[in-house]
């Protein structure tokens, strides 16, 4: 039984470990140049040696990722909720947002740097901007797909629009919202890293760029490893939030 429950965790872990071993073996056998592709063991060594530096650089990245995500969630949920109250606003604004969303959002990054400067503000703005769209669109879909019979029940019970929203539409859209939040948190990390590439003197993106300039491939991969852990932790936090809400909603 325990094996069955651990299967979804064990199987990919074992497969991943297998790939890393294969990588290690191939690099060792063919004596690949370290500058092009270091062995996993080399990356591990660098990771341990440079951990204080990498952690130090991870702090601003994590901070900006979470802050950007929080802003995106606030605006995404807020705007979607607002639009669900007014047919007029919805019809006026929603198509525009869809159009803007079709433009690759990374392309806006230089513009944000011009507008809000090269500091943490621009990283935050880029992260929030990129993460906003999936969250907004998911929340919108959630609010619009609320069971019509539940809405009719509310009407029959003479519930106000606000109470119908707060008691039925909002809780009913939670599964959609969390699907959006999961994409949002992932995109928020991407936004911060890209912004750090362009304008920064700190963060994992900056570290990766600096290491690349020095041809420190091992350090780049070490930083990416930490970035993976950071991304996984952020995603895990959103997932944990979803499980908590689900348990509270009695699923």
């Amino acid at each position: 039984m325990t094996i069955d429950r651990l299967r979804p965790l064990l199987l990919p872990t074992a497969f991943g470990a297998g790939l890393i071993l294969l990588w290690q073996a191939l690099v060792t056998i063919f004596a690949y140049p370290k500058v092009i592709l270091p062995a996993p063991s080399d990356i591990w060594t660098v990771l341990l040696a440079e951990l204080p530096t990498i952690w130090q650089q991870a702090v601003p990245t994590v901070r900006d990722t979470l802050a950007g995500f929080a802003i995106a969630a606030l605006f995404g949920v807020g705007l979607a909720s607002l639009l669900s109250f007014s047919r007029l606003l919805r019809d006026a604004i929603y198509p525009l947002i869809i159009v803007i969303q079709l433009v690759p959002k990374i392309a806006w990054t230089p513009l944000f740097i011009v507008w809000v400067g090269i500091g943490w503000q621009s990283r935050l703005t880029v992260a929030a901007f990129i993460a906003f769209f999936p969250i907004f669109i998911a929340m919108m879909a959630g609010l619009e797909s609320t069971d019509r019979s539940l809405v009719r029940l509310c009407r029959g019970l003479t519930a106000s629009t606000w109470r119908t929203f707060w008691l039925v539409r909002f809780p009913a859209s939670m599964p959609y919202l969390f699907a959006g939040l999961k994409i949002g948190i992932t995109l928020s990390v991407i936004g911060v890293i890209v912004a750090e590439f362009i304008s920064s003197s700190e963060g994992l993106g900056f570290l990766i760029l600096k290491a690349a300039a020095l041809l420190r491939t091992d350090l780049i991969l070490a930083a990416i490893t930490v970035l993976c852990v950071v991304g996984l932790a952020c995603y895990g936090a959103v997932h944990a939030g979803e499980l908590a809400i689900r348990r509270w909603q009695g699923e």
Binding site: R152, L153, R155, L157, T158, A159, R163, L167, G250, E251
Partner: protein, 276 residues
């Protein structure tokens, strides 16, 4: 018309004296009026439900009986005609009407008890849902419909019949003066349906309300109602209005009686030989 059917039209004196509670006058519904897709769902229809009377609206599927009920609920606007409830013209859903839909329509994330208390959260009814008296009332209702021990269960953990029982409690908890039911048991199997008819009958005898019940089951209509209105196929109009003479409380065994089956036979003939 057979003499048996004529005899059934004898009026209960008590009901005859009661006030008109729901007055439906020339109410019709046409969808997409004035376009090529125009569909007349309900032909202009008039009927009256007296205070305290249980009326069943019986008709084949798609005859517009549910549409008619939704109009009496204020959830659908009539294309023509007027509806008055308790002497007031109906323009929007009334806070004093209890509605049961075809589906239980419970909030999946709320317990049975919280679902029963939902009407107090959805609108101001003088008392909050957390009021101990209301909570006690909701709990008593759940016990009465046989859901003792299931108060904390989520809808997902309940069977179809149990969910519809919760919906009965939710429709009764704020003591509505009018109970509207739209084929509430049509999704249930025959055995559960009989059970639910018993439960509804018991609840109705206890919480005596004016009731309008839509169904396509002849036996269900005759078992439950004081009066049965028969609707024709689309566009629906009322083609028969008969009184059901059985005294209350009624047990399921009245379904075996000759008289019961005669009435059912008469209604079936009416539904089948409707001039279009």
């Amino acid at each position: 018309m057979s003499s048996a059917a004529t005899a059934l039209r004898l009026v209960h004196p008590a009901l005859e004296a009661a006030a008109d509670y729901v007055v439906v006058e020339g109410v019709g519904k046409t969808y997409n009026e004035g376009t090529r897709q125009q569909v007349e769902a309900v032909a202009p229809t008039s009927f009256i439900v007296k205070a305290g009377e249980f009326v069943a609206l019986l008709g084949p599927s798609g005859c517009g009986k549910s549409t008619l009920l939704m109009m009496v609920a204020g959830l659908d606007a009539p294309s023509r005609g007027t509806i008055a409830v308790n002497g007031r013209a109906l323009t929007a859903p009334r806070a004093e009407t209890g509605i049961m839909f075809q589906d239980p329509t419970l909030l999946p994330w709320k317990s049975a008890l919280d679902n029963v208390l939902f009407p107090f959260r959805a609108a101001d009814r003088g008392t909050p849902a957390t009021d101990p008296a209301m909570m006690a009332r909701a709990a008593t209702l759940l016990d009465q419909v046989g859901l003792k021990g299931f108060h904390g269960h989520k809808p997902r953990q309940l069977s179809g019949g149990m969910r519809q029982r919760v919906a009965i409690c939710r429709a009764l908890v704020y003591e509505p003066d009018l109970l509207l039911m739209d084929e509430p048991f049509s999704a249930l199997d025959a055995i559960t349906r009989d059970e639910m008819n018993l439960v509804l009958m018991k609840m109705w005898e206890e919480h005596h309300r004016t009731a309008l019940f839509v169904t396509h089951s002849i036996r269900e209509a005759v078992y439950l109602a004081d009066r049965v209105l028969v609707m024709s196929r689309r566009p629906g109009r009322i083609i028969e209005d008969i009184r059901i003479p059985f005294p209350r409380p009624r047990g399921l065994e009245i379904g075996e009686s000759v008289e019961f089956n005669e009435i059912c036979g008469h209604l079936r003939a009416k539904i089948q030989h409707v001039p279009h």
